[in-house]
């Protein structure tokens, strides 16, 4: 089948279905190919029987499929219907959980800005396209999982686009395709923290903050991974010690 996109009417119908769907239900079949709610997006064939172990595999597959297209145009509002259609096409994999609607339909307005980054299919493509192999750190999960790590790494686009930041996260928190222990932990509030407690220190949530602080003193967009790791505060030392790439610095 060729790549389609949902029309405005199709997206409206899809959103209505998402609002009342129950776990295990599949989208109405007409949302996949009915001309009243879909249209041809790009003259490229896609194998809808593919099974992906992780969202990284999916992002890579779509990025390779769209290799000759303008990636930024693919991510523009005009193509929101394409990403929604892809979610429908692979809903048996994306929809194994009853997650919030914005994981299945591109949502550009929220109480604090766009939530488009939370789309399971679109962000898998975007992060692979931007960061290649390093995107594994946020896409190593199964197709239906968004995950706290992805939220922490992608919610702030001004750092999510930094190659050095994502590569540093990949080097610090991933080991043989799996997350290192404590990487996703959060620092507890001061009042609940015991003296000397280090839970969450050096974790991925703190990395975004550290990089944003580094932005005040360094042009972080051009920092190489080893240089960025070298500049991180002491709280990251345990993760740095376990990272072969960081050990080079």
């Amino acid at each position: 089948m060729k790549l389609h996109r949902l029309s405005d009417a199709g997206r409206e119908s899809y959103r209505s279905w998402l609002a009342q769907r129950r776990l295990g239900e599949m989208p109405p079949p007409k949302l996949l190919s009915d001309p009243s709610v879909t249209e041809l997006a790009i003259d490229i064939e896609i194998d809808l029987t593919r099974v992906f172990k992780t969202r990284f595999e999916f992002g890579k597959f779509i990025a390779e499929l769209l290799a000759h297209e303008d990636a930024k145009a693919m991510l523009s509002q005009k193509n929101d219907g394409l990403w929604d259609w892809l979610t429908i096409a692979f809903f048996s994999q994306f929809g194994k959980k009853a997650s919030k609607p914005w994981h299945y339909t591109v949502t550009r307005r929220g109480h604090s800005g766009s939530l488009a980054y939370r789309h399971l299919a679109r962000t898998a493509f975007e992060m692979y396209w931007r960061h290649g192999q390093a995107s594994l750190v946020m896409l190593h999960v199964d197709m239906s999982t968004w995950g706290d790590l992805a939220e922490q790494l992608t919610s702030r686009q001004n750092v999510a686009y930094h190659r050095g930041y994502i590569q540093a996260a990949n080097a610090l928190y991933l080991s043989e395709g799996k997350l290192r222990r404590g990487a996703a932990s959060r620092v507890r509030p001061v009042k609940k923290r015991k003296p000397g407690e280090t839970v969450g220190k050096g974790g991925v949530a703190r990395l975004a903050l550290a990089v944003r602080r580094l932005c005040r003193t360094y042009d972080t967009h051009i920092l190489e991974t080893v240089d960025m790791i070298d500049l991180l505060p002491k709280e990251f030392k345990n993760f740095i010690a376990k990272s072969p790439q960081a050990a080079q610095s």
Binding site: N158, R213, R216
Partner: protein, 249 residues
């Protein structure tokens, strides 16, 4: 390399004042563009051979553009491809040595010409809101909120600001929503963009941070912030005066 501290300036970063810079934006064509029209470095002691780098921000996305040497930077309009069409514009202007990531000088939160340079933490902007009179959005990256008012009611922020009833009735609620957002995000006030808000709170005697796990304590903290805000701007006196004038007329 020296590590970053919020209490010191180990890299000798020079702070560029906002009045030295003028940035123009062009939103008239399909592609967004900006121009660094003026960069006045008179009377500053800076190392020779610096390059100008501009970080354009809109919403929660940003794009880095290298404009070349300080002596002859590119003053033409530069097209931006990473930014969306939603959100408030702001720019960082950085001076860096070629081949180095360390900043020699920086100007933060520069607003483009014609869009005000208010450092207020609640800005006013017109928006297309259908039948909704107003909406507030917190701009995490900028450490402030924007109160969008319906452009069918007021054409400009000046017009909205001149309406004492709008300002007096709406701004306290906007301040409460901003405070509630800050209260929910652990450590938000510790981040550099929120320095201005934190300073304002301290100036008004609010030195304790809210407990993000205790709803009652959060509500209480928000009420303290709103009280300080209303006290500062004397909203009741403002409204009483406006109302008495209306009765006299």
């Amino acid at each position: 390399m020296p590590r970053l501290s919020t209490l010191s300036n180990p890299t000798g970063l020079v702070d560029l004042e906002k009045h030295r810079i003028s940035i123009l934006i062009d939103e008239s064509s399909k592609r967004l563009a900006f121009s660094l029209a003026r960069l006045d470095l008179a009377d500053l002691t800076l190392p020779p051979g610096l390059n100008v780098v501009v970080i354009a921000r809109r919403g929660n996305a940003e794009e880095r553009v290298d404009l070349g040497p300080v002596a002859s930077w590119n003053k033409g309009f530069i097209h931006l491809t990473e930014l969306g069409d939603e959100g408030t514009w702001s720019f960082r202007v950085l001076l860096v040595k070629p081949g180095s990531a360390m900043l020699a000088a920086a100007a933060e939160n520069i607003r483009p010409e014609g869009q005000g340079d208010s450092s207020s933490f609640i800005a006013l902007e017109p928006a297309d809101l259908g039948q909704r009179p107003w909406e507030i959005r917190v701009l995490e990256q900028e450490g402030r909120a924007v109160l969008y008012f319906n452009k069918e009611i007021y054409h400009s922020s000046g017009e909205a600001e001149a309406d004492k009833f709008f300002i007096g009735m709406i701004l306290p609620e906007a301040a409460r929503q901003l405070a509630a957002w800050v209260a929910r995000i652990p450590g938000a006030l510790a981040e550099p963009p929120w320095e201005a808000f934190r300073d304002w709170l301290e100036l008004h005697g609010i030195t304790e941070e809210p407990d993000e796990d205790n709803d009652d304590a959060q509500d209480e903290w928000c009420a303290t912030v709103v009280n300080a805000f209303c006290e500062r701007f004397q909203f009741v006196a403002l409204l009483r005066e406006a109302r008495s004038k209306g009765v006299e007329e």
